[in-house]
Symmetry: C2
Subunit: 316 residues, 2 copies
């Protein structure tokens, strides 16, 4: 095999992580020093980023999904002739897997099982649910929502995806049977909803989107899972609904406030599962980033549109 | 719409459960009394079964997956001109969902999370795993195994299915990329296995299939899930492997002995999740049975081979 024509540098660690070197090869390029490269995969911080890049560098892959810090540090403005891409979307699969785990653990009554030290089969039977035939409403159909939908379908769940436009959510493994509704019509779906997964960005419009009114419309068998931001749920209303049994439980990877303070009721409620914003832990990020980088290297090599381009005029 | 030409009776409850009446309609038949029917869906016990059936009854759907009790009670022998079908396969999806829940809860370190009453993000980060890119070996590729495979694929897991013949496992949502190996070659796969799900029948050959030797070949990050029968795992060897950290944990819906006695180490080991054989609770069985019955009504109406036929000469 001849040496690939496109060379990509990896920084700042030297030698680079093996997973990133493999990503470059998988994408059809060769790893080179910054002086001989046309692209740069950056796995460091904005503070470590070179002040100047060689003129031949056309493209830089940044390691974060949100790149506000890179704008603030002036990295984007300092290199007006370079195309930057973020890692937006790269980490969605791990968070979606975590959301599925929280939902299944809740529906199957796992927290109470883990407290048992005796064979309580007859006690537990009536509390064991299934996602089969149940309607899961996913609020937010970005990367996490789109990664979660194909995980729910084989379990026999019906999915309602909620996005801003209401335009049908599509994707490689998303079946046509998915129902999509716009945020404006959200009030209509609660009566049909068995479980809710919150996966939308935190904005003024989504603040306390799940409030006392929404919680009152859910079922005593409903689980609410939040893998987005704590501010999307009214925590006091949630604590009330969990305490009264208005809903069955909540699985929360994010909370408001965060970190959740010691002594908060969510730590002791038997039907609250709290994971401390660890659905996307550091050791899984590098592998996910490498997959994303490999896809972008291939696109760079073959001249296709890059994934997650950063638009300097929009600031993200 | 004209009235369907085929009539199916439902017993013993009168009126029959709405889900079963719907199953008959969904299958393209009408519900009738025993005297006007060609088929019978039976949701009761062998003891409740009629001693004699009208001559027009050609087919009886039994409500159990294992029909030993029906042979013992003489029900099958008493009706030599009737085709019986069991509910074999009907309950596999619920058990597969439970297996997925146990595996995800283990890999994502949920038991330790549920014991926390403070924000332990940095402690927990290194322990959070993912099924993405991991190899899950499913021992037993019957109904449960075949239901589990399509649930694992969207999570990015690689699946090795183990069956007696080694003939490739196929099915409606089972991709060609599944690797199938025969039980004879099982010893070869442990080095490549990240996690194990035990879903094979209990036979003399499968007794203590997962023993000290197999557990020693797994990884400190491996989870072992058992949703089949307790006898497939050497419990003492498992307790040792869990205590020493030779494997990461075990999720057990079945144990040996069963019920697991009070004070057994599996109740207190922090990396053992025990659910008391409740992966297929009574309230989920009726819905699953109704789906199975609907499929068989449709096959009966259209003259296709019935699912799960009982063979009087084989005894199952």
């Amino acid at each position: 095999m001849s040496r690939p024509a496109v060379a990509i540098a990896i920084g700042p660690a030297d030698p680079p992580p093996a997973l990133l070197a493999k990503a470059v090869a998988d994408g059809g390029a060769s790893v080179a020093g910054l002086g001989e490269a046309q692209g740069l995969i950056w796995a460091g911080t904005p503070g470590q980023f070179p002040d100047e890049l060689p003129e031949a560098i056309e493209w830089v892959q940044l390691p974060a999904a949100g790149v506000e810090d890179w704008f603030t540090a002036g990295v984007i403005a300092a290199h007006p002739n370079v195309r930057f891409t973020s890692a937006a979307g790269a980490f969605a699969a791990s968070v979606a897997e975590h959301a599925l785990m929280l939902l299944l653990a809740g529906v199957r009554y796992l927290p109470e099982h883990l407290r048992a030290d005796t064979w309580r089969q007859q006690d537990f039977f009536p509390h064991i649910g299934s996602l089969r035939g149940k309607t899961v409403t996913i609020v937010g159909a970005g990367g996490i929502g789109k990664a979660l939908i194909p995980m729910l379908i084989p379990l026999g769940a019906h999915v309602i995806a909620v996005n801003r436009s209401g335009r049908p959510v599509t994707g490689p493994r998303i079946p046509d049977t998915i129902e999509t509704i716009s945020t404006d019509h959200l009030a209509r779906v609660w009566a049909r909803t068995d479980h809710v997964v919150v996966a939308a960005p935190a904005t003024p419009e989504t603040n306390h989107l799940i409030d006392a009114d929404v919680l009152a419309r859910l079922k005593p068998s409903s689980w609410v899972v939040n893998v987005a931001r704590g501010s999307l749920i009214d925590t006091d209303a949630l604590v009330s609904a969990l305490s009264s049994g208005a809903i069955a439980g909540a699985g929360l990877d994010v909370t408001e406030p965060e970190p959740l303070p010691d002594g908060h009721p969510l730590w002791s409620l038997p039907n609250a599962i709290v994971t401390p914003h660890d659905s996307n832990p550091p050791q899984l990020r590098l592998a996910a980033f490498a997959d994303h980088a490999a896809a972008n290297v291939e696109r760079f090599v073959t001249g296709k549109d890059l994934l997650a381009p950063v638009d300097p005029s929009l600031g993200y």
